[in-house]
Symmetry: C2
Subunit: 541 residues, 2 copies
């Protein structure tokens, strides 16, 4: 017999408190749609009135399966709930549920609000009652609850009771400063329930300041709460909120949770989790965290030689769940520690079957080692790895050769006295014995400068003869640059993510002290990889 | 009365299993020195014999306060411990302690090793006895212990007993696949102790595959283990190992641990924790994780307007510990959500006192908002933020003006038929009414090409008149590039980290569709910031 456990997502509200994060309305709508597809029970969309983007979000978001929730704070002292314009703005968003944050720590009441303790209790009661009177579902976020409990448990409980008795559907225990450890959360939740607030009316909201947000959330569930708050990818103020991207698969796949609780996320939806996590990073223009539990690109990467060879026999030997359950995949990366078994596996993934003991394997490992010493990395740049292997195997078609290039970048005032830039690139390519010289500037269709790499890419693409059409649907989707060590010198490493019309996405790497050279090298690899895919090994378009 | 709790660091061994991580011997020595300074009890240096870098490390590392430990595996079947060359190589490293990993999960014994269950027990016993007979301290890493316990508890316990009775100082319970939850760890450790292995002979080794490695480690300590294994920054295979960078401050600063246990790390050493964490990222050339508990640059960043204003009154209102305890610092970042209180605080940090209600505050916020819409970010680029604010405040000295520039990048074959690149930059600058035209190429003292940004930087620095000397000690220490959205178009955002001889380090930002332009903009900001620091607001050298 399973019991319902509710998921409450606050990516759009508390997640936006992450340093460097500021969602646009369009981005909020996109994330809300993903959350709704995933199957969370509540979506906290923001604080209407406090932030124009949040107000616009509530105006524009349509019907959702999840209960849409507006966030705000309990009414201010010295006015009625009915006459508080901040509270009115929250209600005006017209959401089915409203979550109000209020104080429960005595010190914060007297020091931050500057009011008497009973007045704060009355503010909570009146605010919740007002929400309920409007026919909305009311939630109360008990700010600093655990610290408040440690300082003055009777008062903290009195605040919860005021919200409960006024009709709040959920009383959410918040560890606002993130310093409470899981065993403390467990003990205090038990006491709250013993104090008269039933577990199926309690929620938990933790932060990751001691790296225990997920564990503290699980501890609260163990103690009896039935609503879990968190964010996708653990976004949130400081070290982030409890990470729903980790909690959801644990609750669905691990015991005792899997058998005990019913959560709204289906097994099928769980298979979209990795994609949802990456989508959020894409919206935020963040590099996805490789080591992220369940969804990181390293989460099922087996580097140790012993592990990798065992995995090939039976994945369960070194994997706690099947990567496909969360839409992730197994990776056997290259490295100095990787043995030939790993290498053959990775070559097979690239469609290159090489026999056990083939002398090319040792040569490829040597080349990788030498390139890594120069600053290259092939852990993620699988397409460049494939090209390198093909070269050693004599299976790299000779599509074209870049003989030389020149780029000029000029920045000066234009006739309107504004500083503008313009680049111009000349590329000389040899194809099938013909030498072709092409030139391009860096202006897009609207006359805006797109820089030297763009000019180079266009000049290269201008006259690739039979390959012209094949690369037409290629698009550069990401571009990352890091200074790294190449031998004794600092060099620039560029990783390019490319995508094509067929939905393929591939990574290539270039290394040089010269950023334009490094970019061009990665770009050439991207083009070659695409030509192999579409023209085949024979190299014919 | 406190009890000793031992810290065992495996950054150099299990940490090296992180995807993309491969330490050089010199890097290992540097990290070992940092660990020794921090005060861990054991340093696991690597697997001698399995990896040339690891063998070299043990040869070169001198005396340490921590017990230096070599890692290896129990003897192979079909030969004696004395005649196992793999085991001999581990002993030959001559370390005080030796840690051997062995199987305790019945399925792995029969499927992976392909031997009978009793033979594996005998391998463990004989291997540990051999280490002890050599006068070394022996540790036994019980691989897959928790999964093994769930599958066949009596057998898993029999393996531990064999190691214990053969004289192992520590039996380390490893959650190799990382899927065991904290409450399970607690329960199983309790049963192991009830089964006859004392807690002060038990260690815990967890992985972060469910984001519970830190919590599972604490649960094991609660259940009675007295050795904690982990890595700095949570490095390690897949999702990483238990993060010592989070565990150490929790054990030192949080109850019940702070009063119950004595760990080797002092309060003074703890103040070096953030620096140690950043040093490791620097060695790995990784961008430090902003949201990292305790040591991340966002760990004490207060973005929400309400939090930030309360923090100004009393830091304990929204901070679980004082940032200085771990050598970190408080940050009040800029953002659309930041109020004028935040802004004034951040201006004060830059040495700019602006009165409450000054109309410039609203103008600065407006400018930041407009710039952020173009793709700029000022969360980290504090130096560029300061310049922007100074401009609005009329306090930006007019050091020099770049009138125009031109860079040419050529790549072609040299006389030895090798492809080489060369850049040449011309910069026109106006200083005190004089127009100065300077040119530079991109070659360093050894004749190696350093690329177009280097050529530009040198041309700019060539004739800055009175400011020449001031910028002589500036050095570019990091350079990050991301594609981001500027209005409706993708643009390049460059963040430059600069450093000078006085040990100052500062960040600037540049945005453009043109990567060279964006880099040059960030570079100009870096130079201006430095000139303000050394020449003052009057702008005189």
């Amino acid at each position: 017999m399973t019991e319902k456990l509710y998921l409450y997502d606050t990516t759009l509200r508390d997640g936006q408190q992450t340093q460097g994060v500021q969602f646009s309305t369009a981005e909020k709508l996109r994330i809300a749609a993903a959350l709704d597809g995933l199957g969370v029970d509540y979506i906290e969309g923001g604080w209407p009135g406090a932030n124009p983007t949040d107000s616009a979000f509530f105006d524009e978001v349509g019907a959702t399966r999840a209960v849409m929730t507006a966030f705000g704070m309990t009414k201010r002292a010295g006015r009625s709930a009915e006459n508080d314009d901040v509270l009115a703005a929250v209600l005006n968003a017209g959401t089915q549920a409203v979550c109000l944050v209020g104080k429960t720590h005595d010190y914060h009441v007297t020091a931050a609000l500057g009011i008497e303790l009973p007045e704060n209790v009355e503010n909570i009661r009146a605010s919740v009652a007002h929400i309920v009177a409007q026919g909305r579902e009311a939630l109360f976020d008990a700010e600093h609850f655990f610290d408040g409990w440690k300082a003055n448990a009777p008062y903290a409980l009195e605040c919860l009771r005021a919200a409960f008795e006024a009709g709040a559907r959920w009383i959410v225990l918040c560890d606002t400063n993130g310093g409470t450890l899981p065993h403390e959360v467990y003990g205090i939740v038990k006491q709250v329930i013993a104090g008269g607030i039933p577990g199926d009316r309690l929620g938990i909201h933790t932060h990751n300041d001691t790296e225990n947000a997920v564990a503290a959330t699980l501890a609260a569930v163990d103690a009896g709460v039935r609503q879990v708050q968190g964010t996708l990818n653990g976004l949130g103020e400081r070290c982030g909120n409890a990470n729903l991207t980790s909690l959801i698969p644990t609750l669905l796949l691990k015991e005792p949770y899997a058998s005990a609780y019913d959560i709204g996320v289906s097994r099928a939806a769980l298979e979209g989790l990795t994609q949802t996590s990456r989508m959020l990073d894409e919206v935020l223009n963040r590099v996805p965290m490789r080591q992220a539990p369940y969804v990181g690109s390293s989460a099922f990467a087996h580097k140790a030689g012993l592990h990798a060879s065992a995995i090939l026999k039976d994945p369960s030997t070194y994997e706690h769940i099947a990567p496909s359950a969360v839409g992730n995949r197994r990776v056997i990366p290259m490295s100095n520690q990787a043995g030939q078994a790993n290498l053959r596996r990775r070559l097979a993934e690239a469609g290159l079957e090489v026999g056990k003991g083939d002398p090319a394997l040792a040569r490829i490992l040597e080349t990788i080692k030498a390139r890594e010493a120069e600053g290259y990395t092939y852990d993620t740049a699988q397409a460049s790895f494939e090209l390198l292997a093909r070269e050693e195997l004599g299976r790299l078609p000779d599509f074209f050769e870049v003989k030389r290039y020149r780029v000029t970048i000029e920045r000066r005032k234009n006739k309107y006295d504004r500083m503008v830039s313009l680049s111009e690139a000349v590329v000389v390519v040899r194809i099938d014995g013909d030498k072709k010289l092409s030139v391009s500037d860096s202006l897009d269709n609207e006359g805006h400068d797109r820089g030297p790499v763009n000019a180079l890419a266009k000049a290269l693409a201008k006259d690739l003869g039979p390959y012209q059409e094949v690369i037409d649907d290629m698009r550069l989707v990401d571009f990352k640059v890091r200074i790294t060590q190449g031998g004794t010198e600092a060099v620039t490493r560029v990783i390019i993510d490319s995508q094509d019309g067929a939905g393929r996405r591939w990574q290539t790497v270039g290394v040089s002290a010269n950023i334009v050279d490094a970019s061009f090298e990665a770009l050439l690899d991207a083009v070659r990889w695409k030509l192999i895919r579409d023209c085949g090994e024979a190299g014919k378009a």
